[in-house]
Each structure stands twice: as C-alpha cells, then as structure tokens.
Amino acid sequence: MVPLTWYLFLAAALFCIGVFGALSRRNAIAVLMGIELMLNAVNINLVAFWRYTDLGQMTGQLFAVFVITVAAAEACVGLALIITIYRQRHTVNVEELDTMKG
C-alpha cells in the first residue's frame, strides 16, 4: 500500500501550485482556479488521513464533502462577482482592480 507520506507530499505540492496560482495569476478566473486547487489539496489530506488512521468513523470523508460543497458555492459566488466586475470595468485583471487602495 502506498504510504501516507506520499499522499501528503502530493497534497502539499498541489497546495503550493494552488498558492502560486492564486498569488501570481493576473486573471481573476485563474486566481479562482488556484483557490480551487488549494481546497482540493486539503481534500486529499482529509481523505488520506481518514484512510490511514480512523477507518471506523466517517469524519474525513464528511469534511471533504463539505469542502467540495463550500468550494462549489465559493466558485459560484466568485464567478458571479467576476462577471459583475467585468461588466462594470471591462477587465478581469486583478492588478487593475485596486479601488480599495488606501
């Protein structure tokens, strides 16, 4: 059986990709995708820890399902925001969306 560490490395790698995507991409949709990656990395961790430590309970899977649900809602809200911003400003470049600048 594949050891737990591998899964953890995979999840860490996926999370790093997600962070990098969220921080460095200029397209708002790409940023959103980076966030999705980070969430899924977490999901991998949850499922992996459930499988290797606590088979008797459904906690890990349940959390993963919750995360997926929340991620779907989040993507939904995020995309709606991006569409609205695009309608207003004709851009989805996050570098230009700095109206909150102090």
Binding site: S24, V31, V94, L97, D98, T99, G102
Partner: protein, 750 residues
Amino acid sequence: MSNPIFNLAVLLPLLPFLAFVLILLWTGRNKRLSAGLAVGSIGLSWILGWAIAIAAFRVEGFGANPFLAFRNWLPTGPTWQAFGIVIDPLTAVMLIMVPFVCFLIFVYSVGYMGIGKPEGQHDVRGWPAEPGHVDPLVSRFFAYVALFATGMLGLILADNLILLFIFWEIMGLCSYLLIGFWFARKYPDPKQITPKEAGLKAFMTTRIGDTIMLAGILLLWIQTNSLSFSEIFKPQTLASLATTTANLPILGPTPWATLIAILIFWGAIGKSAQFPLHVWLPDAMEGPTPVSALIHAATMVSAGVYLIIRTYPLMQAVPHGPALQFISFIGAFTALFAATIAFTQNDIKKVLAYSTISQLGYMFAALGIGAYIAATLHLLTHAFFKALLFLGSGSVIHGMEHGHHAVGHSAHGDTEAAGHDEVSVSPARFDPQDMRNMGGLFKRMPRTAWTFIIGGLALSGFPIVTAGFWSKDEILADAFVNGHTLVFVTLAVAALLTAFYTARQIVMTFFGRPRTEAAEHASERDSIFAWMTIPLMVLGVFAVVAGWVAIPEDFPILGALSSNPFHHFIGGLAEALEIEANPLPFRLSPLVVSLIVALGGLLLGWLVYRGYAGKGAPAEGSPLEIPDPMARPLGRAYTVLQRKYYFDELYHAVFVKGALRLSNWLFRVDDLWVIDPIVDGVGRLGRWFSEISRRFDTAIVDGAVNGIAAITNWMGGIVRGIQTGRVQNYLLVGLVTVSVLLGAFLLLPK
C-alpha cells in the same frame, strides 16, 4: 403716666407721607383728589398733633419724664442706632404749631393753586397759571408739600441726631423741589434769577452747612458712641465732652463740646439762612407763595433754631463758652444786617424774606445769651405771624394779578395769554410782586389787608396785644438783665428797623392811592380767595393770642392774670436738662426800649412813606421811577443796601466763578497730566499684551494644533502604502505571516 395716645405719634409723619405716595403713584391725574388727600392727611396729623400736645400739657412734670419710644435700627459696632421718637415739652409745643400751620397753608394752597378752576388752554407746565386757571402741575405741588410735612413732623419727633438729619435732608430736598416748582419760568432780564437757579442756589448753599453739620454729628458719635439725645445729654457725657480737648491746627486745644457745637450750628446757619449763608433765602421766594410761607418762613428755616434748642445742653456744655458766643454773635449780626437790607427792598416777598432772616437771627442771638425759653417762644410766635404775612402777600399778589388781568382784557386785548414762551414775554413785564406797583389796596382787599396788618404789627412787636411783643420783649429783657449789652443794643436797633420796614411795607401796599391800573382793579372777590382768606383770619387770631400764654408773671397788671404756662412747661424741660431758665425779674428799661422801638419804628415808617403812598400814580411814566423817600437821605448807602451789600455779586465772583475756574483748571490738569496719560498708558499696555498674546497664539497654540494634524498625516502616509487594494498582496502577506508563525512554532524550542 404715659398716655396711650403718645404711641400714635409715629402716625404724624406717616400720614402726609402716605398722601405723598398715593398722589405720586396713583392720583396724580386727578387734581382735586390729590389736593384733598394732602389736605386731609395733614388735617388728621393736625388733630392728632394737638391731641398729643394737649395730653402732654396735662402730665405733671412732663419735662423730667418725656415719652420715649424706639426700636433698634442699625447695628453700629457694639451699639445700635435707634429709630425712635421723643415727646417732651419742646416737641409738644412744636406739635401745636407745625401741623396746624401746615394745615392752614395747605388749605390756602388749594385756593392759591386754583383747585376747582378750569384748566388753562395756554398754560405751560412749570409756569404759573393764568389768573383763574388751575396750575397744570398742582398734584405734584401737593405731593411735594405733603412730603415736606413728613420731613418737618419727623424732625420734631426724632429722638436722635441721625434721624433728625435724615428728616432735615428730606426738607432740604422738598425746599429745592418747591423753590424750583415753576421750573420752566424765565424772565426777560437774564440777570434775574429763575426759579430753577434759585432752587439750585438754595440747595447748594444749605449743603455747605449740612456737610459741616454732618461732620459735627460724626465727631459727636466718635466721642460718645451714641447719637440719641437722651444718651448725649447725660451729665457725665456732657462733662467728659467739655473737659476732653481736641487739638486744632490754629486754635489749639478746644473742648470737644465746643467744636461739635459749632459744627452743628453751621447746619443751622445754612438751614436758617444766617450770615454768611443767608443768600439763598431771598431768592427762594421764586417758589410759589404758600411754599415761602410754609418752608421759608414758618417751619423749615426755623428747624435750624429748633436744632439748637434741641441740642442746647451740648451748646452750653462749656458754660458761656465760645460756642454760645459764636451763636449769639452770628444771630445778632444777622438780625441787624438783614433788617437793614429789608427796608430797601421793593419786592413784597423779598422784604418778608429778609425779615425772616432777621427774626431767625433774633432767635439765635437769644439762644446764644441763654434765653432758651424766650427763643422757643419767639420761634412759635414768629411761625404764626410770618406765615400770616407770607400768605397775605400771596393774596396781595393774586389780587394784583387779577387786577392786571382785568385791565389787560378790557384795555388791550389778551396780550399775555398768547403763550408763555421766552419770546412773547415783553421786556416791560408787569411785576405783581413789586410794592411800587401797589398802593391803596386796603379798600380793594379788606380781609387781606386787615390780617396782613395784624401780622405786621405782630412782627414789629406792637405792644401788649400781639404775640411778637411778648416774645421779642422777653428776648430783649433777657439780654438786658444778663448784661449782654452789645447784643441788647444790636437787637434793639434791629427791632426798630423791623418796625420801620413793616410800616413801610404796609403803607406802600395798602394805603395811599393806587399807583397802577392793576392795583386800581385788584380784588379779592374771586372764589379762590375764600380758601385763601380763611387761613389768614385763623392765623391772624393766633398771631395775637399765641403770645398770651407767656406773659411774665411779674409784668405790671397783666402778669397777675396769667400764670405764664409756657414758661413753666418748657421750664420743666430746661430743668431736666440742667439749662438755666429762671424767670426774669421785671425791669422797666428793656420794656421801655421795646415800646419805643416798636412804636417809634412804626410811626417813623408811617411818617416817611405817608407822602410817597399818598401821591398815587405818576402823571406819566412808570411808578417804578418814583424815588424812594429814603433814597435821598441815605445816598450811596441806599444803593449798597438795595444791592444787599453786594453779597450775591461777591459770592458769585469768589465762589461760583472761583469754583468754575478751579474746576476748569482741575479739568485741564486731570486731562493733560493724569487721566490722559493713564488712559493712554492703559491702552498701550493693552496693545503690548495683546501683541504678546498674538505671538503665543500663532506659535504655540496654532503650532500644536497644526503639528498634531501634520504628524497624523505623515504617519497615515506611511501606513497607507500597505493598503494597496490588491487582494493578492494581502494573500501574500497572510501566507508569509502564517509561514513565519508556523516556522516559529516548529523550529523554536518548546
């Protein structure tokens, strides 16, 4: 012992005061009601006053046990100033005279001021009304005289000097207000004094005396710690005042009693118009005639004499001391001095004014030589006959005005009703007070004439019948018996002159033939004369009988008929106060002198002025141009007398002008060297301070406020850099922070 009616004495001054307040505040518009209030209030005071006085006469040994009532009023250090009344024989006899004379004069005023007559169309406020019209300000007149009655009644009841002084000043105020009652009146001759100026003159002149008197009162209070008469007149107090001395700059050590007595006497000099403060009284005749009778003949001016009688124990604390000598000197000198002026005056009221000054001088001379009772008697009798004379002169003046008015209407139309403003007064205005315009009024105004003659005879001391004889004779006798020869001679000469000018006045006014048309048409038939002549008749009776209460017991024949109740009554008080007042032994020589001067003066006056009066009106020209029979024999001296020894001019040059110059000079000094530099200095200092303040403001206050704002702004500038508005930056910060914390958590030792 003490009759309960004495407790009502406090109402005596309060009733007229109530009338004063009511008239002033509410009834001023209703002239009849105002007059009625004043007359009614004084009428009640009169009845009450006589009831009190009669109750007092019935008390045995009243002089030793006077009625006293007081309440503590002002705390002054360890003691109290009391507010109280005293009724002793002196107050009692004054209560016989004062409210009664006041009442009669109030009644007379009702007629004199024309109550019940229609309002004149052209009458000006503050100007005498046309004959037959009511005075426009008559309510005010009655308010003032009511207040005056308050002052006089309060004065005679006051039991201490400070209360006396308060009422004294109330009278001074009323005198001022009433002299200037016709305040708008102006004369074509700018040198003739107007009522307004006369009031001011009277007020200022008496103020000199009052100030000195107040100084005396204060010194007395410092020395004795009390101003109540009963306290001051205790023998030990008087003895200590007489023995302790004050060191005066020039005079050296002087007993306090002498110093205080002389200072207080100065108040009397001012109030009673004695030399050298006599100048105000003749000019006070500018007031309405009832005022002259009430204030400037019967009551207020005699308040000075009353003051000296009241404080007599203090005056004689040093027996035969300089205080008494000073009083007798001033009195005798004034008596003669004023009498010499009186017989050259042509204004009927001025003659009486100088006569009043002279008679008051008589009283002071009497007090100075110790004739305590005689002075009191003369004070009373003089009040009656001088009030009578003044009221009579007022009646004459009204009669003349009516005559003039009648002539004016029939002959050349209504000349004077055109209005009273300055312009319309013709230069040759008819003077109804000038005796040279009169003559022959006896037939036209018989009631006035009879009563005036009775008053005149009383004034000149017509023997046996009149009151003036008994009082004057007693003064002369006292001076003679006690060896005051100089005073005796002076007073005798003054009495001669008095009789002379009285005869002159009567002859010029009532006898002979009329010298003007106004005198020709003068009458006392108008309805107002009913009000005016009744008081004259009553006073006429009193001018005769008032002396009968004081006929000396050893006077030939008449003495046996009377027991001299006045002497016994006042003598009781004198005894209680340790004043020497024994009945005089009868001497023939002063009586003879008294008879000679009275009868001789009258006869002389009649002889000299008979011819003058008999001539009647001159064929052409004014009667004012007929020379006085005395003018030729006296020559230049006559002019000096007629100009009143130039005292008015002298005082004007020295005091009035001097005061003006001094104030002008002081004004300049003040302006240039004191006030201006101070004001400028204050201004500069203020500017200097504000400059400093301004700098402080700009630098420190403004700097602090702006500085705080600048610092905040600067720090905000730093912090705002963090706020990029880019979500990725925030995320990065979050990541780094979490990483650092995680790293720290993992790496740092537990």
